[in-house]
């Protein structure tokens, strides 16, 4: 009996055993040329609780980058247990929120414990799979479902995923943000950051390369980038790890020249040395340098990572729990990477809910390297906002590690009354819209 026959049979009352066990019937809408399946529930056991509501909250604040008001997802159940997730998408806040509501078909009235099933429904039933808007929405819902699962089962999410590998928590890095006035010479600025890193036990930082690049670029611009990185290593010393984010501003032609001349610095990685669409172009870089190459913040789901992992294109994958498809997809990416000897250094440059969710996955991956947070070594207004929202200083490291929460679920509880203090003020474009000297569009 093929699938179509099975569905026709079910309409005639001869339901397959799996459907019968659920006590629910699949409904089928037929037409002459197609069959649209609406399997409302195909689970072997009766639901122990049901999703009764999905809410989204846009959080706008002057202390956040203008393009990324936080988009939080709250999933409510009939048992009173709620889950929190994050679907923040840079420059597309309203679209991400709407996409979350578009996906309500998959979980409203459903058992929130069946997270894999719902992930498949949100992704596979979408027909037009992938894309950052859909995947960010899936990510928000997926995180919220995992939060509920942990709370219902009375365990932190990282225990449901296999348990933590390091009692100290999850190793992290901060961004190389100024701690002295912006006009302070670079060497002095780096020296001051190093002094604070040593004081707080921070062991890794990430920085960028100055300005924007054309696909072929000049001696002056290439040299400036190389010299900046040599100064950074010299002042930072040999005991602090340094990642360098090229932010896909460079082409293979430009990136590989810079990489070649910073090999002696033993960088932790160079990130996104070219844009992400062309995997062969990325491999053209990694084949010609010994600098570890990282990419992945813009890759969507484990499907989107397969080629870069299997082809040994990069050394480190940096998928983002808010864009890759949530905890479910980030964990699968980690498993794929592990089989190819590729390390995981998840990206996190949005809000605190996703960042904390990411640490749960980090904790259980044998091939975990380091977790990003887009914060400086000294806390700022954004860190104060996060503490206000989550009730504790989220994503602040202790001796170089983010501590893992020991409460059930993600360890997050957000008061809606606090969210109401930061009402959504609409979508804003990506935070940088650069152009080159001749006015042509530059990769930000």
């Amino acid at each position: 009996m093929n699938r179509r026959d099975l569905l026709k049979a079910s309409l005639l009352g001869a339901a397959a055993p799996a459907f019968a066990a659920s006590g629910r019937q699949p409904s089928t809408l037929g037409c002459d040329d197609c069959v649209v399946d609406q399997i409302t529930l195909a689970m072997p056991s009766a639901p122990r609780l049901k999703v009764t509501g999905i809410k989204t909250f846009g959080v706008t604040s002057d202390v956040l980058p203008s393009d990324r008001p936080h988009v939080f997802v709250k999933v409510e159940t009939d048992a009173g247990v709620v889950g929190w997730g994050e679907a923040t998408l840079e420059g597309k806040a309203a679209a991400a929120m709407q996409a979350v509501h578009d996906l309500s078909y998959a979980i409203m009235g459903q058992d929130p414990m069946h997270v894999e099933h719902h992930w498949q429904s949100m992704y596979v039933h979408a027909f037009y799979r992938s894309g950052p808007v859909l995947a960010s929405a899936i990510s928000g819902i997926d995180q919220a479902l995992w939060d509920i699962r942990g709370k219902v089962l009375g365990r932190p999410v990282y225990e449901l995923l296999g348990g933590p590998l390091d009692d100290r928590g999850v190793r992290g890095y901060y961004h190389l943000r100024p701690v002295l006035p912006p006009d302070t010479p670079y060497r002095e600025q780096v020296a001051a950051i190093r002094e604070r890193a040593e004081r707080y036990g921070i062991t890794a930082f990430k920085t960028g390369i100055p300005g924007y690049y054309e696909w072929i670029d000049t001696h002056q611009r290439i040299t400036e980038a190389i010299e900046r990185l040599h100064i950074l290593r010299e002042v930072m010393g040999d005991h602090i790890d340094i990642g360098v984010d090229f932010h896909a501003k460079t082409s293979p032609a430009v990136a590989v020249q810079i990489c070649r001349e910073v090999e002696s610095l033993n960088l932790m990685f160079v990130e996104e040395p070219c844009p992400p669409e062309n995997v062969k172009a990325m491999k053209r870089i990694s084949d010609r340098t010994t600098v570890p190459i990282a990419t992945g913040e813009r890759l969507i789901t484990h499907y989107g990572c397969r080629e870069v992992i299997e082809g040994k294109v990069v050394d480190i994958i940096q998928t983002d729990v808010n864009h890759v498809g949530g905890i479910s997809a980030l964990w699968k990416v980690g498993a794929m990477a592990e089989a190819s000897g590729v390390m995981m250094a998840p990206h996190a440059c949005e809000g605190p809910v996703g960042a904390v969710a990411s640490t749960h996955v980090d904790a259980v991956m044998p091939n975990f390297l380091v977790q990003e947070i887009c914060s400086g070594v000294e806390p700022d207004g954004k860190d104060a906002l996060w503490e206000e929202l989550l009730g504790y200083p989220a994503m602040r490291m202790v001796d170089g590690y983010y501590p893992l929460p020991d409460t059930p679920g993600l360890g997050i509880d957000i008061d809606e009354r606090v969210l109401a203090r930061y009402p959504f003020d609409g979508t804003k474009p990506f935070v940088a819209l650069p152009v080159h000297e001749d006015g042509s569009i530059a990769s930000p």
Binding site: E214, W215, I216, H219, P252, A253, R288
Partner: protein, 359 residues
């Protein structure tokens, strides 16, 4: 609108540079110009273009792709197809009162980086040429590679190439950049040795580092070195660019304006865009060709520079300016964009007559 007449002629500048200029007239009085190479000999080239382009008469210049398909099926030469395309776009722009870059999709930039292809048989001559070009607004220079006449190379050849470029950079000063034009003469192995020697110099790119070999052979230089490489002045079809991109063998596409219409260059650029590869149209002819290159560069998202031959000879500069009504001088390394219709030139028929050597 219909094409009513096609008039090719060969031009020779006083210094000896030769190229063909083709005028295409229409029944509505709008005329378009285009330029191509005069090889192997001006008279032969003019006859070939006149013969091949006769079939344009009666066709609509607004149907540039149909015109090109017709020429392709008739097995016309690449230069005829290139000329027909540029002239049609010039006519269309003039009829629409819009620059060609507006026709091609609108400007992606407000100025186009310039590169002077300089000449010189010795370091001293090259230095003089670079400084003269710098004095006329250029900041990027294409330097011809001088290869020994025989097969001997020796270490001194490779160290000499680097020393020449180092001295030119010293002479040109801050903010100047260089392409090494190898002209396809080195073997891939020699080219790789040169590329290796030039790592850290940050050439814009090494042009035609080896001849038109297999894509695998051409890609071997890029695989072995981080020095960027450019290819394509002799490519007859965009399929060759696609092969080389797929082989990870090229950083700059160099379609020649003499043999590629602007539509063809735009298609090559689309192939390159998906590899984060730049386009820099090759040009060694006259001012009409340079103007056409600027127009297409202005409309491409991934153009990097438009090359133009630099004339140290004042008489040549005067001839080019008289023909095109334009001095071809960039400002601080960039050509400003003309807002005039078509190619933005006012071609002087009288000046053309003065320098015509065959028609």
């Amino acid at each position: 609108m219909k094409i009513s007449r096609v008039t090719p002629r060969a031009i020779a500048e006083p210094g000896g540079r030769r190229y063909l200029v083709v005028r295409v007239d229409t029944d509505e009085g709008v005329a378009g110009y285009a330029e191509t190479e005069a090889r192997p000999e001006p008279r032969v080239a003019v006859d070939q273009l006149r013969r091949e382009l006769q079939r344009l008469v009666g066709m609509d210049p607004a149907h540039a792709v149909r015109v090109d398909e017709d020429l392709r099926r008739a097995r016309a030469s690449l230069r005829s197809r290139a000329v027909a395309n540029v002239a049609c776009l010039d006519i269309l722009g003039k009829a629409a009162r819009a620059p060609v870059y507006e026709i091609l999709g609108g400007p992606t930039r407000h100025k186009v980086r310039a590169m002077a292809a300089v000449t010189g048989g010795s370091d001293a001559e090259l230095r003089e040429s670079v400084l003269a070009a710098r004095g006329r607004g250029h900041r990027a220079f294409s330097i011809p590679l001088t290869t020994p006449s025989g097969m001997e190379r020796g270490r001194s050849f490779y160290t000499g190439v680097r020393a020449t470029l180092d001295s030119l950079r010293d002479a040109a000063g801050e903010g100047c950049d260089f392409v090494l034009d190898c002209g396809g003469r080195p073997s891939p192995g020699e080219a790789l040795s040169i590329a290796d020697r030039l790592e850290g110099f940050h050439l814009l790119w090494m042009d035609e580092p080896c001849g038109e070999l297999s894509a695998t052979a051409q890609a071997s230089i890029s695989r072995g070195s981080v020095t960027p490489v450019g290819y394509g002045r002799g490519f007859t079809d965009n399929a060759r660019f696609q092969d080389l991109l797929r082989e990870d063998g090229v950083d700059v596409l160099r379609p020649a304006l003499a043999t590629h219409g602007l539509t063809s260059i735009r298609k090559a650029a689309a192939l390159a865009e998906t590899y984060y590869v730049a386009v820099a149209p090759f040009h060694c002819g006259g001012p009409i060709g340079t103007a056409a290159g600027i127009q297409v560069c202005a409309a491409l998202p991934n153009s990097f520079v438009q090359e133009t031959p630099f004339c140290t000879n004042r008489a040549d500069r005067q001839a080019r300016a008289a023909i095109s009504g334009w001095d071809e001088e960039p400002a601080d390394g960039f050509f400003p964009l003309s807002g005039k219709p078509g190619l933005g030139l006012e071609v002087d028929e009288g000046a053309l007559d003065s320098y015509t050597v065959a028609r």
